[in-house]
Symmetry: C2
Subunit: 353 residues, 2 copies
């Protein structure tokens, strides 16, 4: 979606908490990675998140959204205020901003690679070789906001929440997963809970079976979500591409982040593969207000998100250079604490070298 | 619910796969534990599961259910046929049998303790001291079977699945969790996804807040389900009592089983605390048809389920004796493989000694 060749219109949403700090480093690395490429980023900064809401009462206005749509891609830090802040009681920044962007911009592929880089300490005694990608559906399932309650707050309250799944929505993300597996180790694992969620699971199973018939080279596996969490800690090496719904993908990718050394390293892309809307790249972690402004946050996840962004823009070489610089930085990490900026500087310096 | 003092009417459902093998050992241990107690088990065996379905086409008939209701408690092995068996294509043994029992017998507390016993190898490098209980709601949430689809199998299919949550249903299980925490380390963690499942999560949050006000000694914590999976692998020692919905509880308890040495050790109780219906005790693991009949299954989870059963019947001493015998057996486990029966014999022998 690079419209004017050589110029990439990038919407930058630093957000709340540690968001601005990690985004500063991500931008530094993006600039270093593309310095000699003839690519120029034309950036627009959007002040969105809890801080903006507290200031103006707005979460994401129609005009914000229209302006964001004019861009080629989005780089987002993290959004969300201090948990328990009474002024945010009735705000739902997650739904009103983050999920609204994913839904309005039709980010139907939520791409979350999990890789255990050499030298990274993790919680598993024998992690083995971890290198898989979760293709999480991003616009359907239990995330649609199709819920309600009656007699709220009384002993007779009933609160419902409906997962909505369409053949259109499931098929496009399943196709993406199979195409990705063709370029990787040719294995797709569907994760769902078909034995209990008969209808929501049934549509996924049928569509995976159908698409699988078009990919005879790709091995297909099915796991219930509960069993999948077991394998993520006992044998994560068995996974190549996991395809799953919005909620199961949310759960599995946090766990996957943990087993690969923490969500301080986990990158993600919210992708609209059709190119109808700009895709959005963000670390999996949240805004961590408790350590905000202290230069304690690890910007690596935000930086790796720029590698996904570059890849999405077709800038393969630059994307791989960022990944290699991060890998080299991780391999050299000692035990001495570094500031957010020091980590960003070190990775950027490797790209300039 | 022991009706005739001294006699416990026990419904035994060995089930499929490794079910009969592990139940044989559980019965052996139950007999050994109660030999001198004046308690006599009057057992009725129910042939239920995939094998019965293949034989007769029945999963759980009304008369099965009526007969089971006449008992004081139920001991279940595992149910489910060989995955992919074409004859079971349209059977859903899980929903038609296991979930039907939980729902019809109003097993609103699905109790799943997680403890890392000394000497048990697990996947975590530094597990720390793991000892918590998940109180999983058993009769509501996404498990209600309130789903459907239109235009099934066409490109225009829409498949929905509705989570139903009531104040009645949530409050009773939350109260159980707080009462349990009062007898343990006085900490309750609610796990949900309130930022996305606004209605289903909202009712849980409000009720936990309300019940918490009646338990000033109990510390209360909230975690989104994705974050909870991270803590289960990075700091499981932080948990005491987790209270959560049916689906999140399913996912968390498999993961919890994995971090405490595998679901071969994980016991569970499906409890109706009111005593209106018999409670049901079963290992968390499935029927594992691939190793069935080979004496390879670990009966420990089934045996620990009898400890929960004894405790539920008010037979505290006998329950603790079973737990201690299992602990001693685990501590002495060498690396030599033992048969299912050898493990059961060894635990029963410790009780006779
Ligand atoms: C903040 C929240 C709405 C979000 C989600 O559930 O998708 C987050 O957990 C994530 O994974 O990006
Ligand atoms: C077999 C299945 C229906 C069941 C569940 O999802 O509850 C199982 O996974 C469990 O945890 O007991």
């Amino acid at each position: 979606r690079v419209q004017d060749p050589g110029v990439v219109k990038l919407a930058v949403i630093p957000g709340d908490g540690i968001g601005p700090e990690v985004i500063a480093e991500a931008e530094k690395v993006l600039d270093a990675a593309t310095a000699d490429s003839g690519i120029r980023f034309e950036k627009t900064r959007f002040s969105l998140g809890a801080a903006r809401f507290l200031d103006t009462g707005d979460t994401l206005t129609d005009s914000d959204l229209d302006a964001i749509k004019e861009h080629d891609a989005i780089l987002l830090g993290a959004v969300g205020g201090v948990p328990g802040d009474p002024r945010l009681k009735d705000a739902n920044i997650e739904r009103g901003l983050l999920l609204k962007l994913r839904f309005e911009l039709d980010h139907y592929v939520n791409l979350r690679p999990s890789k255990l880089y050499p030298g990274v300490p993790g919680p598993l005694a024998e992690p083995g070789d971890i290198d898989f990608v979760v293709v999480r559906e991003g616009t359907e399932g239990p995330y649609v906001g199709n819920g309600g309650s009656i007699r709220r707050g009384t002993p007779h309250e009933v609160a419902n929440e409906t997962s909505v799944n369409t053949a259109f929505g499931v098929e496009r993300v399943v196709r993406y997963a199979f195409d990705l597996a063709e370029r990787r180790s040719k294995k797709v694992t569907l994760v769902h809970k078909t034995n209990v969620l008969v209808h929501a699971g049934g549509i996924w199973k049928r569509i995976v079976d159908a698409v699988s018939a078009e990919h005879p080279e790709v091995a297909v596996d099915y796991l219930h979500v509960d069993a999948a969490t077991i394998f993520l800690v006992t044998n994560p090496g068995r996974f190549d591409v996991i395809v799953t719904d919005n909620l199961f993908g949310d759960i599995l990718t946090d766990l996957a982040g943990a087993v690969t050394g923490g969500i301080g390293l986990a990158a993600s892309g919210n992708i609209n593969p059709d190119g109808a809307f700009p895709s959005m790249f963000e670390p999996v972690h949240g805004s961590a207000p408790d350590i905000a402004g202290q230069q304690k946050a690890d910007p690596t996840a935000a930086i790796l998100s720029t590698a996904l962004l570059l890849d999405h823009l077709g800038l393969r070489t630059e994307s791989e250079a960022v990944t290699r610089a991060v890998e080299a930085d991780i391999a050299d990490r000692g035990t001495a604490a570094r500031t957010t900026a020091q980590i960003g500087d070190s990775i950027a310096a490797r790209l300039q070298a």
